[in-house]
């Protein structure tokens, strides 16, 4: 049984899709922002791997085809962005200022907390690109001589956390404007936050997609300046 499941190429994709569907189903019934479909699906897959004693590597043999689609999917984020271009042009000053302040607050918070916890320079620069999309963040971490594997882990955890807490944070801080929600998700939680923004609506999704690009570029420029602080 375990052999049969572990060596099946479609097990990885199937268990992921079923887990996500289950997450959506639960979210519909339990209307709490804590019932996040992404979080539920990750937990579901982990439990299934445990029950059927499937190695992560075997799961990933099939699951990697989902990751493989990430590049074409990111390319497609240009479509909602294009469709909201008028809105973007009308609000460009607010959009740029908000993303820039988000990037600055990310770098500054990492700096303050690293100092507080007494992190080494290496640990500090590893965390600096934590809010931006994985591939750009890896590049920044590498250039600043951080620990790239840890950067990747921290970036993914940041994304999932952002995806899970977004609705709660918006309620707490009374953020109701769809443009503001999208910018907040993309700047704080990159592509994984954008997946949430897409669920919230087209404007949210478009603004979040834009934030991935702009916050990534701004971080590439600003992170080396912050790196010298500690």
């Amino acid at each position: 049984m375990e052999e049969l499941i572990g060596k099946s190429l479609f097990f990885g994709v199937a268990v992921s899709v079923v887990g996500y569907e289950a997450g959506l189903w639960i979210k519909k019934r339990v209307k709490s922002p804590l019932c996040n479909p992404l979080f539920i699906s990750i937990a579901f897959v982990m439990v299934m791997l445990g029950i059927f004693r499937v190695d992560y590597d075997d799961y990933y043999e099939g699951g990697k085809y989902l990751s493989y689609l990430l590049t074409p999917a990111t390319v497609c984020l240009a479509v909602p962005l294009y469709q909201q271009m008028e809105l973007l042009k009308k609000n460009w000053a607010a959009v740029i200022t908000a993303i820039a302040s988000g990037v600055f607050s990310s770098l500054a918070t990492v700096f303050i907390m690293s100092k507080l916890f007494g992190f080494t320079h290496e640990q500090y620069v590893t965390l600096l690109p934590k809010s931006i999309t994985t591939a750009i963040g890896m590049g920044v971490s590498e250039k600043l001589e951080g620990i790239v594997t840890v950067t990747v882990v921290v970036i993914i955890i940041t994304g999932i956390l952002g995806n899970v807490i977004a609705e709660g944070v918006f309620k707490l801080f009374r953020i109701q404007n769809p443009i503001a929600k999208g910018l907040a998700l993309g700047t704080s939680a990159h592509a994984i936050g954008t997946a949430k923004a897409m669920e919230l609506g087209e404007i949210e999704g478009a603004m979040s997609s834009l934030s991935i690009v702009v916050s990534g570029i701004l971080t590439v420029a600003a992170a080396p300046l912050f790196a010298g602080l500690l």
Binding site: P72, T74, V75, A135, V153, L161, G162, A191
Partner: protein, 125 residues
């Protein structure tokens, strides 16, 4: 053959983005170059939205699924975080909330202010 063509266009743009990533010495991933190419093609009118719309919508809709394999892989990487896990978790949690709140609040107040200004000038006019 609508989906065949749509998917083909998207994959070709992803490929072009990958080429740029390999050719240019910047820490920018191919997917972001691809996003830029797609946006430029749409805005220039060389590519109509209808030529990619349904396939793009599909890929965006299933995008959350694409993060599951990497996230499940975090189980295997716990040893990399040994010893610094708690402070790291604190940094991640605090920073994420701060960035989300700052970005959202900043955008919201600027948009509202902008709206008020235009309303006022419209009323005056």
């Amino acid at each position: 053959m609508k989906y065949m063509k749509q998917f083909g266009i998207i994959i070709l743009i992803a490929l072009a983005g990958e080429f740029l990533e390999k050719l240019l010495p910047l820490p920018v991933p191919g997917s972001i170059y691809g996003l830029g190419i797609m946006l430029a093609l749409l805005m220039s009118g060389l590519l109509k939205v209808e030529a990619v719309k349904e396939s793009a919508d599909f890929l965006i809709e299933i995008m959350p699924l694409m993060f599951i394999p990497a996230a499940v892989g975090l189980l295997d990487s716990y040893h990399e975080l040994e010893g610094i896990f708690l402070p790291l978790a604190a940094v991640v949690a605090v920073t994420t909330v701060v960035v989300m709140a700052v970005t959202g609040k900043c955008a919201q107040s600027m948009i509202r202010k902008g709206k008020k200004d235009t309303d006022m000038t419209q009323k005056k006019g």
